[in-house]
Amino acid sequence: MTKYWIDGEKAIDISEADDVNSVSFTIDDKDVVVSGGQSILEAVQRMSGIANIPALCYHPAVRPYGACRLCTVEASEDGGKNFKFVAACLYPVKEGIIVKTSTEKVKKLRKGIIELLLARCPNTRIIQELAAEYGVEKPRFSVGDQDCILCGLCVRACQEIIGKSAISLVNRGIYKEVAAPFYAYELGEGCIGCGDCAFVCPTGAITMGDNGKPVLPRVKIPYAEIGAMTSREKLPASQG
């Protein structure tokens, strides 16, 4: 059988090559061969025209996180008998798997996630664009006013690429936010002002300020419920 290596739009015959860590699998009814050791999303992004998997918390420069769940696809490891939902950014390509990226269930899930994101960030351009693309109108629930979707890309960029870890994700649950130590509004020496955080941010929630340091995402969630662990001023209640 001829084995092809799909690289962009080229298909290279690799039948004669040995010691190639190649993996063949089926995606949206197309048989493909890719190099092993990558995730479904990585493979798909390298093969133009094969499939379109949206992803917000993924960036090739940092490790995948699997938080936004938009890249969820259906995958079967037993030849199509049973499918499960997996995050394409993390699920590794494996020999013989069957992947479906646009089933009704997957599309419904994507719509649902976008609806939740739209409720959190109704005025954020990229979320509005996704909503338009997937046919999500007004969210059916209470609406907030944030820009940050807690994808963690800024934190990971600072930690993995720069190695400074000037910012991190603090608190948990609905109170999770991107913050500098002790919720400082201005970043100190820990931050070298490289701008990577603003560069990888998918929504523009984190931007570079005039002083060459990042301006952290606005937070508009009241801390009253769990009990504030800081003496930061409580912001006016909103329905985020």
Binding site: S165, V170, P181, I226, G227, M229
Partner: protein
């Protein structure tokens, strides 16, 4: 600890015990994966975790300060603000809830203006809630300064708290 402590006194004690804090942190120097254990030791010693202690931990254990801060804010066990003289923990596990545990929290708000996580102005009480303390047959359960009270209703709570100045 006697009952007349206020936040300033607590801070002074911590400063005086700086050596103790140093040696506590030193004992964890090559064990950065035990960060949570260290934070617990400090929390149980001082009833909260001061800012400069977090900074020292970051320096000595060679963990980025932002990560130490993340851990300190993620887990419910750690308080970054000083607590009151007495900590009242109301169990809100399912069994206690079904038997009326929420009414005790409501009463604390009515009588002392406290929501969970808050401390009274006079630094007398801090209210916490716990998601099940494991005494489900005896609910509603309230723990005051480590002492367990069982089958507590609003009346009993009021009586118990009178003993804690």
């Amino acid at each position: 600890m006697d009952t007349e402590l206020d936040f300033d006194t607590i801070r002074t004690i911590i400063e005086k015990n700086a050596d103790k804090v140093e040696s506590l942190i030193d004992s964890y120097v090559d064990k950065k994966e035990q960060l949570i254990s260290l934070l617990q030791d400090i929390q149980s010693e001082y009833n909260y975790i001061p800012q400069d202690v977090l900074i020292k931990i970051s320096q000595k254990l060679d963990i980025p300060l932002s990560q130490v801060f993340s851990v300190a804010t993620f887990f419910q066990a750690f308080s970054l603000k000083p607590r009151g003289r007495h900590t009242i923990t109301v169990c809100l596990g399912t069994a206690c809830h079904v038997k009326g545990g929420q009414r005790l929290v409501d009463k604390m708000e009515r009588d002392f203006g406290l929501k969970p996580g808050e401390t009274t102005e006079d630094e007398r009480f801090t209210l916490e809630t716990a998601n099940c303390l494991g005494c489900c047959a005896l609910g509603p359960v309230v723990v005051v300064d480590g002492k367990y009270e069982s089958q507590v209703n609003p009346e009993k709570l009021e009586k118990v708290l009178k003993n804690y100045k």
